[in-house]
Amino acid sequence: MNSTVDSNNLREEVRAWLTQNVPQDWRQAMTGTDQDAFVKAQRDWFNKLVAAGYATPHWPEGWPGGGRSLADQKIIYEETARADAPRLILFFVALYHSACTLMEWGTQEQKEKYLPGILKGEIWCQGFSEPNAGSDLASVKTRAELKGDRYVINGQKTWSTMAQYADKCLLLTRTGKSEPPQGGLTYLLLDMKAKGVSVRPISQITGDDEFAEIFFDDVEVLVEDRVGKDGEGWAVAQSTLSSERGLTLVELTQRMRYSLAKVAEVMRERGRASDPAIRKELGALIAKVNASCALADQYLLKRISGTEAAGDASIVKLNYARTLREFTKLGMSISGLQGQYFEDFTRGGSQETGNWTVDFMNSYNWSIAGGSDEIQRNIIAERMLLMPREPKNWQLS
């Protein structure tokens, strides 16, 4: 009873704050700008959220904004989605991947060294994938050699989101030879300004440089900046990857639900509002979007109650990626030829900017990054349905 009253209060409080503080014209301001203006706007929004305590509700008690129950965190995310506030894309890795990894694995010294910086707006990137280590992350080759009190790093990372703006990097390296290959990995915290680090932005299909390659040429990282033990990198990386699941998907599915109005909008704009074929597709989509919301909600509830089972997270992610694809594709198809003309798009609006072709292209983020759809299917089949794993050894015949 009391907790219901409290959460109603929180909901109202957050809603009121958002009404006051979401920059009213952020969508216009972020449309057709360059990436630097986007970075500045993200910083401003980040600072506001941190000051209000809404950027870090998932941090533990004792940290600014932290110590909130999952139920309260959910309220904050739902309200953020409802208010159509910008997403903190630039700070996502810092707030989730880095913070959660440090909370779980970091030493007290590491927490004190790095977490305050995150609150001050340091940007982090994730340096896991390599040209030859994508889905098969365990085959990472970037070498870290232990020399006295430091590691010396050589190699290359790729697809690292926003690495060109990053101050710090979560780096997965190889320190040893072992079978299975997971055993030889070590997890380091890297200063992106360190000598020997160079970054080359990669142009994405939208024309933006959202991710980048990172090259390491004898880069030094102190042993004190290693997370977990030497050879424990795989386990640490797993918690990094699972850190944002649940809440993020609650927020994203809610955003998708609120954005169904944009489908209605484009139907009107294109004179298709009473086209029964389109209405029928919309009806089916509404059911699916609501199901995605329900699935994310229930996943969060499982986490709260400690009843999460192997594969649950994969179901939610695979489902979201599929529904998002259908959602953006319907908008794009209603847009017709008009949608194929280039039009400036909005940055920071997740996958529902209303520029349907861009949204459609960006929907591939969710089916490729963070474990592709195919990898999620493997997990569901093997860990939930308990179907046998692929045989290890193969030969071309």
Binding site: E61, Q73, A264, E281, G283, I286, L295, L301, N319
Partner: protein
């Protein structure tokens, strides 16, 4: 990451889980697609028709969520009981202003069958006489009464099926796990003592009835799809070709994983909608939720059934093997209910 998270199951939730588990045990003891003669006495003896009935009327007060758990269990086992129709009619009695509610519920929960249409009806009333046709009425040959919603919702009533002017025609469906009938009325007199609602109340009750039916069909579909996928995965694990279990082939694993994801989403939508509507089943919002849950669950069930048949290969095409039973029930489910689901959902959203 936060420590302050606790979650406690309520007594009602625990009770429902127990009820559901025992239902599953009983039904799996009976085997797949058990016929009506066998399963109906069990349904009534074990009080399953009272699950959703309020305590004040002698029920278990588990609401729509409760009866849906049973629809899902019966769907799993492909049982041929007119359970959905009977629970819908009993629920309508519970939500009427009839004086003899209690005694009617007792009669219908203990063996005497009351039924209802699982699809569209076209029934009109003129000077207290009912004329028209109801389709997809389960077990009408054995039922004593049928729930009738009169066109434009002027009236909701029970009609005795054993009276002049009532014509009952068996409609053989491909789905052999259901026995459906057309019921034709030609100037059948209304029994005032069995009128459940009229005027505005009838509109409200009618909308409750169709929402309840949508949820029942959705639950049947979720239960059936789940059981069928389990069966299919089991089959792929045991059947060997090319010197290995078929379940090792990724092309097949991925299809099963997709089906699992789809079933989970339909189930999540159903459960979420049920918890949102609570007991408020009339009104545009609830109607739209029922429609979305029914649409998604039944289309997912059909997809699972189509894929499962393919994944079984030749044996899936034999009448001995139950693949086809699920497929036929799934195909029928898609066409039960009323209206054009996707369009209705969109209309509600756009209005």
């Amino acid at each position: 990451m936060s420590a302050s998270n606790t979650y406690q199951r309520s007594d009602a939730e625990s009770q429902l889980i127990e009820l559901r588990d025992s239902a599953r045990q009983v039904l799996s003891g009976l085997g797949l697609a058990v016929n009506e003669e066998k399963v109906w006495p069990i349904v009534t003896d074990l009080g399953w028709l009272l699950v959703g009935v309020p305590e004040t009327l002698g029920g278990l007060e588990q609401g729509v969520t409760g009866s849906c758990a049973f629809h899902a269990e019966l769907g799993r086992s492909l049982a041929a009981a007119p359970y959905a129709a009977a629970t819908i009619a009993i629920d309508a009695i519970c939500h009427s202003t009839l004086a003899n509610q209690q005694s009617l519920i007792e009669r219908f929960a203990t063996g005497e069958i009351v039924t209802a249409s699982l699809a569209e009806s076209a029934v009109a009333i003129a000077s207290n006489k009912v004329t028209g046709t109801m389709t997809a009425v389960p077990s009408a040959d054995k039922a004593s009464h049928v729930l009738v919603c009169v066109e434009n919702s002027e009236l909701v009533a029970l009609l005795s099926l054993n009276q002049p002017g009532v014509e009952i025609t068996a409609r053989q469906t491909w789905d052999t796990t259901r026995r459906l009938f057309d019921v034709r009325f030609a100037d059948v007199a209304l029994d005032e003592t069995l009128t459940l609602a009229s005027g505005a109340d009838a509109k409200t009750l009618s909308s409750r009835i169709s929402t309840l039916r949508d949820f029942a069909l959705a639950a049947d579909a979720v239960g059936g799809a789940e059981a069928l996928l389990e069966m299919t995965v089991e089959y792929l694990k045991t059947r060997k070709q090319f010197g290995r279990p078929l379940a090792l082939f990724q092309a097949l694993k991925h299809r099963c994983a997709d089906l699992k994801m789809l079933i989970s989403s339909a189930e999540a939508l159903l459960n979420d909608s049920l918890s949102r509507v609570g007991n408020q089943l009339d009104g545009a919002q609830a109607v739209a939720m029922g429609k979305a849950a029914k649409y998604l669950a039944c289309s997912v069930y059909a997809r699972v059934a189509e894929e499962s048949l393919q994944l079984h290969g030749g044996i899936g095409m034999t009448s001995e093997y139950p693949c086809h039973l699920y497929l036929k029930r799934a195909l029928l489910n898609e066409h039960l209910g009323s209206g054009n689901y996707e369009l209705d959902i969109a209309d509600h959203f756009l209005s």
